[in-house]
């Protein structure tokens, strides 16, 4: 086997080709929405909604229903529920997420534990199963991905305004509640799109780490979103490639690569700050 054969090996398989397309979509989507997640300090929400999807997956699995339908309904309902509880019950968003996601996750585990059907697939939902991306799954990834892209494309400005200054935005006539709910639902759909690639347990990292890396390098919004997107795609596509060559789990490899990039940006921005300080003290 030549070096070229080795390097191109992952692309010979249909399932890997599909996985790479999915990785591209997931990388771009998660990191774009991640910009808002990081700026609104909603890191917890990715974790919460991902766990909530488990209730829908469990019900769909036990009833033999469609995985995508089950996961979407459970996650979107939880997302809207979080918004509702937050507004009505006067509890912090953190608390609303904490209450609802554990409840949905517990429901999933409860149903699975009482089932007499084999639950071997459980692990593939928790940790992702890239081998399982069927042509149908890829179509669903592309369709839901397109919906998310349209929502962000349409609402990026009101999302930015309400992230920065929700009170003044509302006074100026921005429909804050609608924008908030649209963001939560879009995050929910993005998580579902990402589940097969990285799994429930790790998906939150993709919503946070690339945007956090980008925030180290820029103090402007649009550059931050573009950099975040670049980091997200690099992590997902590169991580998937590395996982094939290293015979490792795709989700874990992707998240570790994203984390590596985060520490690289951290070190480089700290070095740059030091240089600026030194230059300033010299000029004095």
């Amino acid at each position: 086997m030549t070096l070229l054969d080795y390097l191109l090996a992952p692309f010979q398989y249909d399932f890997m080709q599909r996985a790479f397309v999915a990785a591209l979509v997931v990388g771009a989507l998660c990191s774009t929405l991640g910009t808002y997640v990081v700026l609104r300090k909603l890191s917890f929400i990715g974790d919460g909604l991902a766990h909530a999807s488990f209730a829908g997956i469990a019900i769909a699995y036990l009833r033999g229903a469609n995985f995508w339908l089950g996961a979407t309904i459970a996650t979107v309902v939880t997302a809207l529920g979080i918004g509702f509880v937050h507004r009505r019950a006067r509890v912090s968003l953190d608390t609303a997420i904490g209450v609802l996601f554990t409840a949905a996750f517990a429901l999933g585990i409860y149903l699975m534990s009482r089932s007499t059907r084999a639950t071997v697939d459980l692990q593939s939902y928790l940790f992702g199963n890239i081998l399982g991306v069927s042509p149908y799954d890829l179509e669903m990834v592309l369709a839901l991905g397109l919906v998310c892209a349209i929502v962000v494309g349409a609402l990026w400005r009101p999302l930015l305004y309400t992230s920065f200054d929700p009170v003044v935005a509302q006074a100026a006539g921005v429909r804050e509640r609608f924008v908030d709910d649209a963001l939560l639902v879009t995050i929910a759909l993005t998580i579902i799109v990402s589940l097969q690639l990285v799994g429930i347990v790790l998906v939150a990292a993709l919503l946070v780490t690339p945007a956090a890396s980008a925030a180290q390098l820029t103090r402007r919004f649009v550059p931050m979103m573009l950099l975040s997107c670049a980091f997200g795609i690099t992590s997902c596509v590169g991580g998937l490639y590395a996982s094939f060559q290293l015979h490792a789990a795709s989700g874990a490899t992707i998240v570790l690569l994203a984390t590596l990039l985060f520490f690289a940006t951290l070190v480089s921005s700290a070095a740059r700050r030091r240089r600026v300080l030194r230059a300033a003290s010299r000029s004095r």
């Binding site: 494309g153 400005r157 003044v168 103090r219």
Partner: protein, 246 residues
Amino acid sequence: MQTGNAIEVRGLRVQYDRVTALDGVDFDLPPGTALGIVGPNGSGKSTLLKAVAGLVLPSAGTVRVFGKAPRSLTPGTIGYVPQIEDVDWNFPVSVRDVVAMGRYPRLWPFQPFSAHDRAAVTRAIDALDLGPLADRHISELSGGQQQRTFVARALAQEPSLLLLDEPTTGVDAATEDALLPLIRGLVAGGLPVLMTTHDLDRAPEWFDRLLVLDHRVLADGKPADVLASGAYAGIREHTHTHGHLR
């Protein structure tokens, strides 16, 4: 825009849990008028502005802005500058980015920034002398510069009604001196302005009408008349003993 009052408030009552912030407040604001609101700390001045902006809902009574409930107005109608901007100063935006947000409520999804939008942003930046600071990150501004940035955002919005919550409290004299002629110019152009303040001495320069508030309206008239009437006298003592903050 219609010819009637910009604001009509009738029997307004606002209740926060067990605290009554406003009770039985009535007033009108015609176009081209600057109405100042004075009153002691905790007298409900900020709440009154929030009720007009649709940020708090009345427990009783009505608030009409151009004949409608504040929340059903066309986006971009109300420009609001709160007293304390409780924003994340590390948020990745420059002065120009913040001012440009003023245009956002007026834009449809996918609608690109037009030449008019860009011109409104530049005009607002120039009006508040922020030109040299336009590309600075918001964390690199002084208190007065921050306040001017948020006023510029409200102006870039080209609002039909401007609400200012103590824009001159805690800012440098230069900022106040820049704001006064600017606001007076806008009022002369027909814009209705509702503004809270602690500065009674300069009230006649700022306002066409002055309203003394202490959960309800104690006086409402020409600034000189209201100040001469003594309606504010007890209040002035109050603010002096309790300080000028908030």
